[in-house]
Symmetry: C2
């Protein structure tokens, strides 16, 4: 895939707030969420962020919006139509399962319909909901959740906390280490939860005690939402891997480090991570990130890769990474007083404009 008309930095939307410099949701982004009006009994449905609004896809479908009208050829049009109907449902699973052609078709149709001068404006203007009036559900029903330990900087830092003498395990540079997270405690940004209680061994103590975690930690991570699956036991070629990835969200992998240090041998973290995982409501599609593609960073990475017999270095070394700067601002306000840990970060899309890197 390479950048197409939807990535053109010159595009502007008839939704004026989408054109504000530095905004999270310009017409080049178009991330998806499952939303409804806050406090209402409406059913959740798919929406697309545009400026400070959400285009309600269920309402758009009802108002007669079709992808075909956007001038897509018939096969692409049919795939896009399917994607639109899927995205109007209560969760994005069906859209995510529809695959890259459908995602791409829907993206181009939405981009054309939201551009300045689009004749769809009249119908779609009534399908916009202000983001400040919305509440969000998890974007998808999540059946399994794999937590990868992919950043060598992070792995070294956490390793130093738990194993000062030997922070990086010998397998680290040979394979992507991962474990299963707990699906049932994943919630969207704004999630409030109780500080976890569990056993931990105080420094120098011979017996553990049980109590609220004293070393509650957060981790700024990215969540990757897998769309089309594969048959059990079949493998996906690394060159095809991206076609299975619908998009990315922000993810906070909350961690109770004192519980983790005591429990994690030999089966990995469990109670230390079970209590909460927070994700952003907005899922930025991989296609939206196309202009941010980068080479792997330099010779060191490639040399390290070529040592790893599990990966064909050529494929993996191509422009298969994305540049994105993520920031976090811990907010302690009220958290201690209420006995709650909360993630009050801004729900944000990742690409914040047409500039690259």
């Amino acid at each position: 895939m390479s950048p197409n008309e939807t990535h053109d930095p010159a595009l502007a939307s008839w939704v004026d707030s989408a054109n504000a410099p530095g905004g999270d949701f310009p017409i080049q982004n178009l991330p998806f969420a499952a939303f409804r009006r806050a406090g209402s009994a409406e059913r959740f449905r798919g929406g697309v962020a545009i400026g400070d609004r959400i285009l309600d896809l269920a309402a758009a479908l009802k108002a007669g919006f079709t992808c075909g009208a956007a001038g897509l050829r018939s096969a692409a049009g049919a795939a896009a139509e399917h994607a639109l109907a899927a995205a109007a449902g209560p969760a994005l699973n069906e859209l995510m399962a529809a695959g890259p052609a459908a995602w791409s078709g829907l993206r181009v149709a939405l981009s054309r319909a939201l551009r300045r001068g689009a004749r769809e404006r009249t119908a779609l203007e009534q399908c916009l909901v202000p983001q400040r009036q919305a509440e969000y559900a998890l974007p998808a029903r999540i059946g399994d959740y794999t937590d990868f330990y992919t950043s060598i900087h992070h792995a070294t830092a956490v390793g130093r906390l738990l194993r000062p003498d030997n922070p990086l395990p010998p397998n680290y540079k040979w394979m992507p280490l991962a474990y299963h997270g707990r699906c049932s405690s994943i919630a969207v940004s704004g999630q409030a939860f109780r500080r976890p209680i569990g056993p931990r061994l105080a420094h120098g103590a011979v017996a553990p005690t049980v109590g609220p975690s004293e070393r509650l930690d957060y981790e700024l991570e990215l969540g990757a939402l897998v769309g089309p699956g594969n048959a059990p036991g079949s493998r996906i070629d690394i060159a095809d891997a991206e076609s299975h990835l619908f998009g990315l969200c922000l993810l906070n992998d909350w961690s109770a480090r004192d519980l983790q240090a005591w429990e994690y041998q030999p089966l990995g973290p469990f109670l230390a991570k079970n209590f909460a995982t927070t994700i952003s409501p907005w899922v930025v599609t991989l296609e939206a990130l196309e202009p941010y593609r980068l080479e792997w960073s330099g010779r060191r990475a490639i040399r390290s890769l070529s040592r790893i017999s599990t990966l064909p270095p050529c494929a993996a070394a191509e422009r298969s990474t994305f540049g994105s700067r993520l920031t976090s601002s811990p907010n302690r306000c009220g958290a201690r007083a209420a006995g709650l840990a909360g993630s009050r970060g801004r729900a944000t899309g990742m690409p914040t404009g047409p500039s690259r890197r």
Copy 2:
């Protein structure tokens, strides 16, 4: 809970095969499964094993069978009626969520209706499906799956494989160690799957290689199906724990030991366990196991418990274990030739008759 009329060793059923000595499914057992006729397009529904038959609960409901007719008092009757309707659905989740009063009411109603001389015989005889004509689905939609490392004998044996010098980690005797398993590869007995492929480090090698597992292993375990849940962050008193447990099934926790030895530090097993977990179709209710309750085995266990500040020893030391002898018979027939590892064990209920211990 203590044994009641449903556990009476003298009970016999009008389904003659249920009365055969040493059978898996006497009237005292009454385990649940989700089933349909093999090769049919019928929808899966709940059934109860009786002898070599399955009582089709959806058909029984349709045939006018009610729990009220079994002489239950009104509150118990209503709970049982709800349980029956829930059990007739495509998976047992709703039944499992209904709680002990509903489970118990349905059990007594089924026991009375299946006894010799029951007037329900005429209606229910037409609702029996031979087990040899049935195929099974997972008994429930499984949202999260926790793998506990509870047997000290097993933990020592596996620990010796992976860490000959230090088989038991220091936390082992202080808390139940556990990790998340993969829900999406759990299937019912008869599950066939490909031998997993992954990286492993040969003895004495400095670099890992990738290939099919050469040390595929099985583990005979019990699966515990959790029924009613609790609010996130709230705790369940150990004295109430059993009321959240619907029942037990057999479970084979397949393991690729060579992959496990290389990957498991520091995050626990992942690829070594992801490819398959096999469970029996039949779920034996905790209530059916009531006559098999045992004291904790002797002073050693109690002394060990009283060292653990996380558990109130009194509650945990009461008759909170069950005696059950489990056997496994590996069947290599054809597995190697087909490149498949299969679990062809007999789908069996656990209590195999009225004898205790």
